[in-house]
Symmetry: C2
Subunit: 325 residues, 2 copies
């Protein structure tokens, strides 16, 4: 059993409650189109990784109440809303191996249904009555949006370095992972050192996850539902490219300027890009960075109590980067 | 002095605090593009009608604290975020007489910066520490998104009647007016009958406002920044059209099917539509509806204490429909 499956098995009962709550809350009395749009995303066999982090964190800290279900559903709604708005943003044509919402429907539906899910997530977390949790999740929402905007301005700019990349990744991906873990600890009333450990774990895990994702885009992988080179075609300056650009000679630099900055791509460019990535060891260096962040995630768990869930969270850190191993 | 100017003069000091808070909170350390996109909307001389409602409601109920400033800024951020996402939705080319954000920038920026403002609004209201206020505003956010989605599905369908129109308007416009008023009363700790009165006032005011807006689209008006017939060209089935369609004979119905349902419009169609609206008294009937809702808004104020602000809110109700008088 793979690590996320082991975690899902351990949390089976609570995960079923989360799924039930998600289905109830994504319905709309007045606008029946809403579940039509969300269903294919919410039901599409997403791994529920983020909500599982919340459930695991709460349980690991000895939580005995029921609000971790609300928070797990909140986190999944925020994630799904972000995917819907990303579809508008990226003009991507495939998501989890299925057509994206904006091709099935249109940009308008993606924007508005995403907004609906954001509002629903906000209702769900308000029901917990826990002000600190609300602060954490509203801060995370702002950080996510900032990361996405920063990505827009930085994406096609060859001057973008690893520091900016990390800032984008912390925003668009790690902020929600970190908040998902942290609110689990907070709702359980865990001591500050443990809450901090959960947050650090989620932050490092999210960064490892995103770096692995950006690597997969050039290496491919089983069942990723992604085509090799999507990011290249969308002219996204992700970590492998940033590393290759940093080591480029004059001729290579001219190539990157043409295909990324000017967006003038032709037959064979992806193959040439892959050759340059290999020549400079950029894929291998990116892989080492991902492994390093996964190790940091595992190490962050030390202050938490010994528990099967702590081991499983450690395994999840290895798993998110092992997808391409 | 026109009623909204009188209200602004009365609330001058607090409105300045709201504007200061808005400027501080729309900035972004990591993504400087954000205030570039929002500035032209937030600073574009919007009337600040919604935040003034919050300030007035709180003061009218004797509030002595400072959180009505946060709530007023919250309401304006939600409104601005909605405008940004509407720009994506409507492919509109003019908003408050200026180019829309999505022409100045692009759809991606509109979506993501709107998300950022939603998240910021959520942070602001969380700072009040008032759970009931959070519930009201999160419910309003969900209702707004539902109303917008319902409008998408109903807009080009000639079977849409006045009941569905009212549901859309309650969602996309009146929900925020009602919440803006209600949270002012709640933060002031007003008694339930007064909170209810504020909510009813905001609901009726929002409906009157939107009906007047939809009428203006066919009648034009000074300084509206709208072109006559925008809704017609976008094939939006608003109240004037709904009334005309209800009274259409066979030939007229065929016309509406062609221009609205099929979207096949040609030179002279807008003039013909205006002639049909006049023939059936649809504009006059729409105007009477708007006046009726304005009267309901004024009447809803009765349970509130006698106060210059109560009179001003009553005048605002007349004003939103008098824009076309």
């Amino acid at each position: 059993m793979r690590p996320h499956e082991a975690l899902a098995a351990f949390l089976e009962g609570e995960l079923a409650e989360v799924n039930r709550l998600i289905r109830v809350r994504m319905s709309s009395e007045h606008a029946p189109r809403i579940p039509e749009v969300t269903a294919h995303l919410v039901e599409a066999g997403g791994k529920r990784l983020r909500p599982m982090l919340t459930l695991a964190a709460a349980r690991l800290c000895g939580y005995g109440g029921g609000y971790h279900i609300h928070l797990a559903a909140t986190v999944e709604f925020i994630h799904t809303a972000t995917l819907l708005h990303d579809d508008v943003v990226d003009e991507s044509t495939q998501r989890r191996g299925r057509p994206t919402a904006n091709l099935l429907w249109d940009n308008k539906s993606s924007v508005l249904v995403g907004d609906y899910l954001f509002a629903r997530s906000f209702q769900l977390m308000t029901e917990t009555g826990n002000m600190r949790v609300l602060g954490i999740l509203s801060d995370a929402s702002a950080t996510i949006a900032e990361g996405e905007v920063l990505q827009l301005t930085a994406a096609q700019d060859l001057a973008t370095g690893e520091e900016t990349y990390l800032k984008v990744v912390r925003g668009k991906t790690a902020a929600l992972f970190a908040a998902a873990c942290e609110v689990g600890g907070v709702i359980a009333g865990a001591e500050e050192a443990q809450v901090r450990a959960l947050r650090d774990y989620g932050d490092a895990l999210g960064i490892a996850f995103q770096i692995a994702d950006d690597l997969l885009d050039y290496r491919g992988g089983a069942a990723t539902g992604k085509n090799i080179g999507d990011d290249f075609r969308e002219r996204k300056l992700t970590l492998p490219l940033i590393k290759a650009v940093a080591r480029a000679d004059g001729e290579e630099r001219a190539f990157w300027e043409r295909v990324i900055e000017k967006g003038c791509q032709q037959e064979g460019d992806l193959d040439h890009a892959l050759a340059l990535l290999t020549r400079h060891g950029a894929l291998e260096a990116t892989r080492r960075d991902a492994l390093d962040w996964a190790a940091r995630a595992r190490a962050a768990l030390a202050p938490l109590p010994e528990h099967p869930l702590r081991d499983m969270l450690g395994d999840i850190a290895d798993y998110v980067v092992a997808r391409f191993a």
